[in-house]
């Protein structure tokens, strides 16, 4: 997980969802710990997509969770989310 990516994502979440930046840690779960709902998460996804020039495959992730191929923590715990964003950015390069 890149520190730069983590800080950028944490800043986006803090701004979009009006969450105290200090409460956002690599272990935070976006929904369970930070209380982000699905509509706010779309705003966050929009901002992340634009910031990094990527398209986070949210639908695929949700499908994987719903069909038991992955857990929600794999995508929505901050350190894991940031790791996946790093992968998407690397794949773009």
């Amino acid at each position: 997980m890149s520190d730069d990516t983590f800080n950028a994502v944490a800043n986006i979440i803090a701004e979009v969802s009006s969450i105290d930046r200090a409460k956002i840690t690599p272990e935070s779960h976006a929904m369970n710990d930070l209380g982000i709902d699905s509509l706010d998460f779309l705003d966050i996804t929009f901002a992340i997509d634009k910031h990094f020039g990527i398209k986070m495959p949210l639908e695929k992730w949700m499908e994987d969770v719903n069909e038991g191929r992955a857990s929600a923590e794999d995508f929505f715990v901050m350190k894991n989310l940031v790791g996946r964003i790093d992968e998407l950015v690397a794949a773009k390069a």
Partner: protein
């Protein structure tokens, strides 16, 4: 426009898929039961319907870009400005541009003009998902064709 049936767009005037933009024509009817209440003796096009005209214009753009495989549903009015009154009988031009296509959602910027003068603008977000019913897909496709949106290819 047929306000009672929530049909705000009369004609798709231009569509540029490469540039992700669309322009539509929408003429406010001279008579509607809506004007009896909004407002008695001083009929005005409701602002929410002006926003809806931008949403429907954005919707046609998204339907085309998504090849009618997914249906856009308005989920968020990120911002909207209603700059002046719109009266019965006025002809409006409604434009929309795709701002971003994400995974299962899309964002547009849209605007309304009357004789080149800005009337309203908005930033809108849509959830895009497979049509919940095949009948709806067919009806949407037929209606889009009737207002001049290319539906094939």
């Amino acid at each position: 426009m047929n306000l009672e049936y929530f049909q705000l767009i009369d004609r798709v005037e231009s569509l540029d898929r490469a540039a992700n933009r669309i322009q539509c024509r929408a003429t406010v009817p001279t008579k509607s039961t809506i004007f009896e209440g909004h407002f008695p003796g001083y009929p005005l096009m409701p602002g929410v319907l002006i926003v809806e005209s931008m949403a429907q214009t954005s919707g046609y753009l998204l339907l085309s870009l998504l090849k009618f495989e997914r249906m856009p549903f308005l989920i968020q009015i990120q911002s909207a400005k209603l700059r002046t009154f719109v009266s019965p009988g006025e002809a409006l031009t409604v434009r929309a541009t795709l701002e971003h296509e994400g995974s299962g959602f899309a964002a547009t910027k849209a605007g309304v003009e009357r004789e080149g003068k800005p009337i309203a603008d908005a930033e809108l977000r849509f959830r895009t998902m497979p049509f919940p019913k095949p009948e709806l897909q067919g009806m949407v496709r037929d209606y889009a064709r009737s207002v001049g949106l290319p539906v094939d290819g």
